[in-house]
């Protein structure tokens, strides 16, 4: 059904790296950029002419963005690789070589690799924004020599939105999930491979728009974009709203793929009881996106409509600003579980293989992942206890605290797996354990914000900043690195340098805690968030935090260099370096273009985490009827 012609064909060992790279392969990306640029300026300029305004105004910027996005997508190869067929034309054949990384492609592995590169770049630039913020906070009032309040607000707004939507939302789901999902399930591809291809091409224009929003006036609202401030603090909010809506749409397309692939494309014998934990994590995250993302990006677009079309959903004398908060947090609190659930699942995927033990209490762990995704829907209101009516407080306090019960099942399974195992402490395992330690702090400090009385004081202080950085940076990004190191051999065919990976893990762990732990104290001492200028009594701690943050930030150059050098000249990887029993380790490293060639079919005959001596193989390969 979803197997394309090329993927059905028997291509013996058609690896991605066989054709040498030539620069002309990059042309589709250049063409996409050119079309996007032309689309943006043509539409913005014509709109400005017609409406007698200038191209930096909200309406021209909006139309410019829409046509720029369309131009970019058309230039990327979607026109000849997909849409032309709908008008009776010939669809260009799928490419199997290196060139598929630089153009629209229906190969999930190529899409996933592009995701990783995009995430790394977005992380780098959003991280630079974080460094600018910490330079600002080195001194109580540095607005005279460093960023003005205006630039400071833009900087942390961009930092927040990019880190959440362009990094955390897709590092594990996009980069690892889309690569591993079909392979782990024994499927030849995902259920909608072209839609998955499209999901990546939506990211760069959105990210560029958010990063360049200062050029059309920036936005002062932080990543919340709350009206009515959104409407009167710079036209850059247009790029905020459109960028956020585009990034969420991309997540939604990915979620549809994950859901459909898990339901319809599992190999024979891959019952729900044998689906790998990592896939369960992706599934739980997808349910969240499918149910909640539409309400929230509709909210940002309604907010935009208040700005450019003169509607009054949230603004003006009849508007209800809190309605926006309801829509916004409807997804955006559960969104942190979209980041965290795949990270949890990743621990449970890596730990059994590392400890050479079956996953402990597997059913409870699956229930935990699904439970978090279900309870997570209902607790966004705890983000504005200081604004809601009294009757909503006890309800949402109770629901928010309840989410810790299913989350606990993940720790239960992880601890049970570690106990009595024989743990090989390789760098990915070390990072997983560190992520668990960090998430524990992030999760426990979340109870303070769920508890209404404590939240009345701690809300919007640095306590909150510390809390969510522990969950997102401390848990999700640590797990991302763990996953990168764990599956690096599968993707590139080479091993990561273990010494530098471990060195970096410790560096990162120490400076991460030195940066973010003092922020809890800052919060208690009355430092509120989103301020460029603070009172001098908070200076010593802030100075300490800033200096730690510089070390933390510099530390990211270590994995960047390590991954690049290992990719170019690392040790050749064996097929299954970690001794894992999961299906993705059954094909050679690096994964060939066709993972499961036509002619043979995999059947799952047992649990894939039985590490006992002399345990039977969980997978059986049998010739198919169609095989010639």
């Amino acid at each position: 059904m979803a197997t394309t012609d090329v993927q059905g064909r028997t291509v013996g060992g058609a690896g991605g790296g066989e054709q040498p790279f030539v620069w002309s392969m990059v042309l589709p990306m250049v063409r996409a950029g050119l079309f996007g640029f032309i689309g943006y300026f043509a539409a913005a300029w014509i709109t400005a002419m017609v409406t007698h305004s200038v191209i930096v105004n909200p309406l021209p910027a909006t139309l410019g963005y829409v046509f720029g996005l369309l131009g970019w997508i058309a230039g990327s190869g979607i026109w000849d690789g997909w849409i032309r067929r709908a008008f009776g034309g010939e669809e260009a054949p799928s490419l199997t070589g290196v060139e598929r990384y630089f153009r629209f492609s229906s190969d999930p592995k190529a899409t996933a690799v592009r995701y990783v590169i995009f995430n790394v770049l977005a992380f780098f630039f959003a991280g630079l924004a974080a460094m600018m913020i910490r330079i600002q906070l080195l001194t109580p009032d540095s607005t005279s020599w460093w960023l003005s309040e205006v630039h400071y607000n833009m900087t942390f707004g961009i930092h927040g939105l990019m880190m959440l939507l362009a990094v955390a939302a897709s590092v594990i789901v996009g980069g690892m999930g889309y690569y591993l999902l079909p392979i782990m399930l024994g499927a030849r591809t995902v259920i909608y491979p072209r839609l998955l291809g499209l999901s990546w091409w939506l990211l760069p224009p959105a990210a560029v728009a958010v990063f360049l929003s200062p050029l059309i006036g920036g936005f002062q609202t932080g990543w919340w974009g709350y009206p009515p401030l959104a409407q009167n603090s710079g036209s850059g909010i247009v790029f905020y709203a459109l960028g956020a809506a585009t990034l969420l749409t991309s997540s939604l397309l990915g979620a549809l793929n994950i859901m459909g692939t898990i339901i319809y494309m599992r190999a024979k014998g891959m019952s729900l009881g044998r689906v790998p934990m990592f896939v369960w994590g992706l599934f739980a995250a997808s349910t969240i996106l499918i149910v909640e993302a539409p309400a929230t990006f509709t909210g940002t677009l309604m907010d935009l409509s208040d700005m450019i079309l003169g509607s009054h959903f949230y603004t003006g004398p009849t508007g209800i600003p809190l309605a926006y908060d309801d829509q916004f947090w409807w997804l955006f609190h559960p969104e942190v579980y979209v980041f965290a659930l795949p990270a949890f699942a990743l621990w449970l995927e890596i730990l059994p293989a590392a400890a050479q033990r079956p996953l402990f209490a597997r059913n409870w762990a699956v229930a935990g992942l699904l439970g978090v995704s279900m309870v997570g829907v209902m607790l966004g209101v705890h983000h504005y206890f200081t604004a809601v009516s009294a009757v909503r407080m006890p309800i949402f306090m109770t629901i928010t605290e309840t989410v810790s019960i299913p989350t606990g099942f993940v720790f239960l399974a992880a601890l049970g797996t570690l106990w009595g195992g024989r743990l090989k402490l390789s760098s990915p395992v070390l990072l997983c354990l560190m992520a668990m330690m960090n998430f524990l702090i992030g999760g426990l400090t979340g109870i303070f914000n769920a508890d209404v009385p404590a939240d009345f004081q701690l809300h919007n202080t640095y306590w909150v900043i510390a809390h969510f950085h522990y969950t997102i940076l401390g848990a999700v990004i640590f797990s991302w690195l763990a996953g990168l190191y764990w599956w690096f051999p599968k993707v590139t065919g080479r091993m990561v340098n273990e010494f530098w990976a471990k060195f970096h893990a410790w560096w990162f762990f120490i400076f991460f805690n030195m940066t973010f732990f003092p922020m809890f104290i800052l919060g208690i001492e009355g430092m509120n968030r989103r301020i460029a200028v603070y009172l001098p009594y908070l200076h010593p701690l802030n100075e300490f935090v800033s200096i730690s943050a510089f070390f933390l930030g510099a530390g990211f150059l270590i994995p960047a260099a390590n991954l690049y050098i290992s990719w170019r000249s690392g040790k050749k990887a064996p097929q299954n370096p970690w001794g894992s029993k999961s299906l993705e380790w059954h094909s050679p490293s690096p994964t060939p273009y066709i993972v499961f060639p036509e002619g043979s079919e995999v059947t799952v005959v047992g649990p894939n985490d039985n590490y006992a001596d002399g345990a039977p193989e969980p997978f059986v390969w049998a010739p198919t009827a169609a095989g010639k």
């Binding site: 309040e149 205006v150 002062q220 609202t221 709350y226 009515p228 401030l229 603090s233 004398p317 600003p321 809190l322 400890a355 033990r357 209490a361 504005y384 200081t386 604004a387 009294a390 006890p394 109770t398 605290e401 309840t402 810790s404 019960i405 606990g408 720790f411 601890l415 049970g416 570690l418 106990w419 009595g420 195992g421 024989r422 743990l423 090989k424 402490l425 354990l433 668990m436 330690m437 524990l440 426990l444 109870i447 303070f448 508890d451 009385p453 009345f456 004081q457 104290i521 208690i524 001492e525 009355g526 509120n528 968030r529 989103r530 301020i531 460029a532 200028v533 603070y534 590490y611 001596d613």
Partner: protein, 246 residues
């Protein structure tokens, strides 16, 4: 495995002694609590800190202990002898504990704290009414019954419950005096109330925790959207009123 558990208990005891000792030190250095409400919210926070530290030691301690105790020595290969997939007593204990802790937390400090805060509000028969107007980027205060309008400094008597009536002229803001331990968002098209009973004399000059601070991003002037506060004795407050009303 039983022998390993003995070692874990020893690790827990040592970890607990260190961590709760540090917590005791931190709680001793808690910043100023300048109102009845601040005591309620700080009690909730401090209680949760004790609890969080205990859970962190128990769970995090187990992770670290396992990583050390059950790690494979170099050159050590082959699977471990222990291959259990399930151990009922552990799972049931974990489940009961996590439900119990959640229920308990919802009742105390959650509902009990809220009930106390709401109780002060209900019991305040004749609160001092202070109208607070937020706008980009300043605060103005009026005392309708005292005939004082539009002052830019918040002056209040100690020991009396104050009903802050919060309005905004433009975007959302948030009224917060860190020393008073509570905050309230100010939303366009709505009027909100915040009840505070100051208990500590002082002013922004004597302690920076006693200051009005906007706590919800409201644009470029947000960090500077502060106002000085002075908490006076009741007699001194009367004098201030008679000097400023007309």
């Amino acid at each position: 495995m039983v022998k390993a558990f003995g070692g874990l208990v020893v690790a827990w005891i040592i970890g607990m002694a260190i961590a709760e000792g540090l917590t005791a030190y931190g709680v001793d250095h808690w910043p100023l609590l300048g109102s009845v409400q601040a005591h309620i919210t700080a009690d909730a926070t401090i209680y949760l800190i004790w609890q969080a530290v205990a859970i962190y030691v128990l769970v995090g301690g187990t992770i670290v202990y396992c990583a050390i105790r059950f790690r494979a020595r170099p050159g050590d290969s082959g699977p471990p002898a222990y291959q259990r997939r399930y151990f009922g007593p552990f799972v049931i204990f974990w489940l009961i504990m996590s439900i119990a802790i959640n229920l308990a937390n919802t009742i105390y400090p959650g509902m009990v704290g809220l009930e106390q805060l709401w109780g002060i509000q209900l019991k305040a028969k004749h609160p001092l009414v202070v109208d607070v107007t937020a706008q980009q980027w300043k605060w103005t205060f009026s005392y309708p019954k005292q005939g004082i309008t539009d002052v830019s400094k918040l002056v209040v008597p100690v020991g009396q419950t104050i009903d802050f009536v919060l309005r905004t002229k433009d975007v959302m803001h948030d009224f917060w005096v860190p020393a008073w331990g509570v905050k309230k968002d100010v939303i366009p098209n709505e009027i909100r109330h915040l009840y505070v009973t100051p208990t500590v004399l002082g002013s922004t000059k004597t302690n920076p925790m006693i200051r009005v601070q906007c706590s919800l991003i409201c644009g470029n002037g947000h960090p500077m959207m502060r106002a000085p506060v002075e908490v006076l004795t009741k007699a001194a407050f009367k004098t201030w009123v008679s000097n400023n009303s007309f």
